[in-house]
């Protein structure tokens, strides 16, 4: 079913054009992005229920001008006919103050070249299976409550259950003197979270669901209730791993975390501009085994970060970052592309209209290979199958990686022993990890739950994934 336009943004379209036209008299480049993101989050826990607007909800505008020396932005959320001229004056005052502040501190503004936009018009409305409005709040809560009740029926060791579903409609309108782009799409995500306790030991298991979809996500969640309870109980008997280097098989979501942390953040090209990325030294060189091909793109696949254009009015692309082990290129926002003299890749994303756009990942993934998972497991003399994760962090300058993985299943002589280790901290030097990849399965799965930060802030929706991969990794 087709996702409708935002009435709010359509009502503001003429005023946005008026603003671009008025400021265009003083500045060689002006654009305005309008956002209208509306969503609901439904959460049923053993201990309570909540129904609130999604925390991704936002409605406002960000204006960007280039004054011949560099870019300046202004975020605001009040725009009526009479306020357009006030906004024009406010931007002028703030830009003067910004230039003055630099002078007072004897600091320079970088000369950022102005990006020459090509003319473009686009109107994109995505489709989903079941529109979120098709179920009432009561019906949605009943569905989630039934998941919670079923989880408790599985075991007395379950002490708390959370079933959460969130549907978000994203509508954006970008207007500059040469571009008029609009898009509307819906993404949804869900979580099943089960806390289990035995003899004072507490563990939890979590399973996420996501995609450019509507209420059909509830059926996917329902099918996994038993599995999440089983995993939580399994973790109650988990042991800690002895630190060391092991042969590992990473599940698609752990492989996705590695892709995201290892080379996703490491090739965000604003890091190139700052001299923070080791990747610059390795462009055109081998950084991974020849089995590894890695992509990032809003256009190549359908997940939560698939869109028609980014938050700077650049059209979505599919970027091949690593091709058969060779580092090919990075992903960029518009300013880093302007400074570096490269083409923007449609990766300029903002947490909201209130924030700066940075070079950010969209959907980041390893391409599938030709191996069979069964053969991969049988090839391991001693090691672990690593599944699910809690968090990750990268070090783009020195290619260190930190992945907190939920659990590992021990493998001895090609067979699972039944022993579980949890949690597992995977650390190491990224090229060593990627060069050690010796088998890649034919499976392919993406996941886009949660959010990715730039450092410790600026959260954005991304997805990551790929096939099962076999590698050597340092675990602790």
């Amino acid at each position: 079913m087709k996702v409708e336009d935002s009435r709010y943004l359509n009502d503001k379209r003429d005023m946005m054009k008026k603003l671009v036209c008025s400021l265009g008299r003083d500045f060689p480049y002006v654009s305005v992005l309008g956002t209208d993101v509306r969503g609901k989050q439904y959460q049923v826990m053993t201990t309570g229920i909540s129904v609130n607007d999604s925390r991704w909800s936002e409605r406002g505008f960000v204006l960007r001008v280039h004054d011949g020396r560099g870019y300046f932005e202004f975020s605001f959320n009040e725009m009526e006919n009479q306020s357009v001229e006030e906004i024009v004056k406010y931007v002028g005052r703030k830009l003067s103050a910004f230039r003055k502040s630099m002078n007072e501190n004897s600091l320079d503004a970088s000369a950022v070249p102005m990006f020459e936009e090509e003319e473009s018009k686009l109107c994109f409305n995505d489709e989903v299976g079941i529109l979120p409005g098709s179920l009432s709040a009561g019906e949605t809560i009943d569905r989630l409550s039934s998941f919670k009740d079923r989880a408790h029926e599985f075991s007395d060791e379950v002490v708390n259950v959370m079933a959460l579903m969130e549907n978000v409609q994203v509508s954006k309108l970008f207007i500059s003197s040469r571009r008029e782009l609009s898009q509307s799409y819906i993404w949804s995500q869900g979580y099943l979270y089960v806390v289990a306790r035995r003899n004072k030991k507490t563990k939890y298991s979590m399973k996420g669901f996501s995609g450019l979809k509507g209420l059909e996500i509830l059926d996917e969640m329902e099918a996994f209730v038993g599995k999440v309870v089983e995993n939580a109980r399994l973790l109650l008997s988990a042991e800690r791993i002895d630190p060391g280097e092991y042969d590992v098989i990473c599940s698609p979501d752990v492989a996705g975390l590695i892709a995201h942390e290892a080379f996703g953040h490491g090739v965000e090209m604003d890091m190139f501009v700052k001299g923070r990325a080791k990747a610059v030294e390795y462009l055109g060189k081998r950084v991974a085994s020849e089995l590894v091909t890695m992509h990032d793109g809003a256009a190549g696949v359908r997940e939560v970060s698939s869109y028609a254009f980014d938050d700077e009015g650049c059209l979505a692309k599919d970027t091949v970052i690593i091709e058969n082990g060779i580092l090919k290129r990075g992903i960029s926002d518009l300013i880093s592309a302007s400074v570096l003299g490269t083409e923007p890749t449609g990766n300029g994303k903002r947490e909201s209209y209130e924030r700066k756009a940075y070079a950010r990942m969209t959907n980041t993934y390893f391409s599938p290979g030709k191996d069979d998972l069964k053969d991969m497991i049988e090839s391991i003399d001693y090691g672990f199958l690593l599944e699910d994760y809690y968090s990750g962090m990268e070090d783009p300058k020195n290619w260190g990686i930190q992945c907190v993985i939920a659990y590992g299943r021990e493998i001895k002589k090609g067979q699972f022993t039944g022993r579980i280790v949890s949690p597992v901290m995977m650390t190491g030097y990224v090229p060593s990890l990627l060069k050690s990849i010796s088998m890649v399965s034919g499976d392919f799965k993406l996941s886009g739950t949660g959010a990715c930060g730039k450092g410790h802030k600026e959260f954005a929706k991304v997805s990551a994934g790929g096939p099962y991969i076999k590698a050597k990794a340092r675990l602790g």
Partner: protein, 424 residues
């Protein structure tokens, strides 16, 4: 806008309501080296409206709620639709009844500042520093913000206050064995020039150490001294064990009179929640409910004395609320940092990320900068990881020296036995 929202809440006969208005104005600077490549300003107003619905089943009273966000310029018909939809949804939110924040009316006074002056102070404090020859500021982002709040509810509460927020994200680099960097984020109320300057100077020294660091060897079980941010995050674990919501949600298992520690030897933790810490952005007069925030000692010598929490979860546990406090302080310990450093140990100041799991007590992080002391030499290290579980420690010692960092005031270092170190 508030009048329009209240009029429509009353017209729709909701059982109770709360409105939180926020006005935000900011100046933002994005530096690469000492050149700014983007300037930004922000002027935004938002309304968060919570609609409550009371109902009974048998003898039991319930209070459902639903929160919606409303932007300026939203048409009246859309506001009415949002309120009606939220009131309908709240009827399915079957949570036990709890009271609203009680009636009171006050405008909390704050000294007013020009954002331009504040951002000038922050920029000056960052760039006027003397720097070691082999370390430099790679990039800095400065956000200086004025947030104004007004909270109203259907009981007659009307509280207003404003605060300033200075957020500085710094990346420092150094060149030694190889070129390396360290990441830092500093969050203050006003841009305290002395604190910013000290912080930047210390970062430049630390990154110089990292530039000459060697890979962490496999040390396995050795006392681990944590200094700075990792201490704050470990102590936050104990703070959360005393939180009313986590107790109600069956995550925290401790009862008043129980130990929050796990029988390890060493120092016992005394922790209090506090509304005000000097210079802390997290100091607030009232919480999001409009409840006046209070101070409480929640852990005394390792024993849970009382929980802390907002009005809803405190009511559920049958305790007096403190409000949703954001600052906490921990009492000093028995060892000086020098005493902690006398024996063989690994000290870590910077992890890639400090991962502390409030549910399981699991702790872990990849080492970005640490030092191994083998009894004679102190060697800078990088790489490898520290992992363990805060419920399975052999000992924990807190330093006599204390520091203020963001929402935390307490020991600057802690020494722990019972963690595993993974290295090459």
């Amino acid at each position: 806008m508030i009048e329009t929202i209240v009029k429509n809440l009353e017209a729709n006969s909701v059982d109770a309501w709360r409105i939180r208005e926020e006005n935000i104005e900011s100046e933002e600077y994005f530096f690469v080296g000492n050149k700014v490549d983007l300037g930004r300003a922000k002027k935004v107003k938002k309304y968060e409206v919570t609609v409550y619905r009371d109902f009974e089943e048998g003898e039991k009273k319930y209070r459902g709620s639903s929160t919606v966000t409303i932007s300026p310029g939203t048409a009246v018909e859309e506001i009415v639709h949002s309120i009606q939809e939220a009131f309908f949804a709240a009827g399915f939110v079957k949570n036990p009844w709890y009271p609203m924040a009680p009636k009171f009316s006050r405008r909390f006074r704050t000294d007013e500042h020009y954002l331009h002056d504040l951002s000038g102070d922050a920029i000056g404090a960052i760039f006027d520093n003397e720097r070691p020859s082999n370390s430099w500021l790679n990039s800095v982002e400065i956000f200086v913000t004025r947030n104004g709040y007004r909270i109203l509810n259907s009981e007659g509460l009307d509280a207003a206050f404003s605060k300033y927020r200075t957020y500085i994200e710094s990346i420092v680099s150094s060149s030694g064995r190889e070129e390396v960097e360290l990441y830092d984020q500093l969050l203050l109320a006003l841009p305290d020039v002395e604190r910013i300057s000290e912080r930047i100077s210390r970062l430049l020294l630390l990154v110089g150490e990292r530039a000459n660091a060697v890979p962490t060897p496999a040390l396995d079980r050795i006392p681990v001294v944590l200094t700075g941010e990792p201490v704050r995050e470990v102590m936050r674990y104990y703070l959360k064990q005393a939180n009313a919501r986590l107790k109600y949600d069956r995550i925290s298992e401790v009862e008043p009179g129980d130990s929050v520690q796990s029988g390890e030897s060493g120092d016992k933790i005394t922790l209090e929640v506090v509304p005000e810490l000097e210079g802390s952005y997290f100091s607030l007069p009232v919480d999001n409910d409009g409840f006046l925030i209070g101070k409480r000692t929640v852990i005394e010598k390792g024993i849970l004395k009382d929980y802390w929490g907002d009005i809803k979860y405190s009511h559920y546990l049958g305790i007096e609320p403190t409000g949703a406090v954001l600052n906490f302080s921990v009492g000093p310990g028995s060892l000086s940092i020098d005493e902690m450093r006398k024996v063989d140990h690994l000290e870590v100041t910077n992890f890639s990320a400090v991962d502390v799991d409030e549910t399981t007590g699991d702790f872990g992080g990849e080492i970005r900068l640490g030092w191994y002391f083998d009894g004679s030499k102190r060697i800078a290290l990088s790489g490898g990881s520290v992992t363990g579980n805060l419920r399975e420690l052999e000992s924990i010692y807190l330093s006599k020296e204390t520091e203020l960092d963001g929402d935390y005031y307490g020991p600057r270092s802690i020494s722990i036995e019972g963690l595993k170190v993974s290295g090459e």
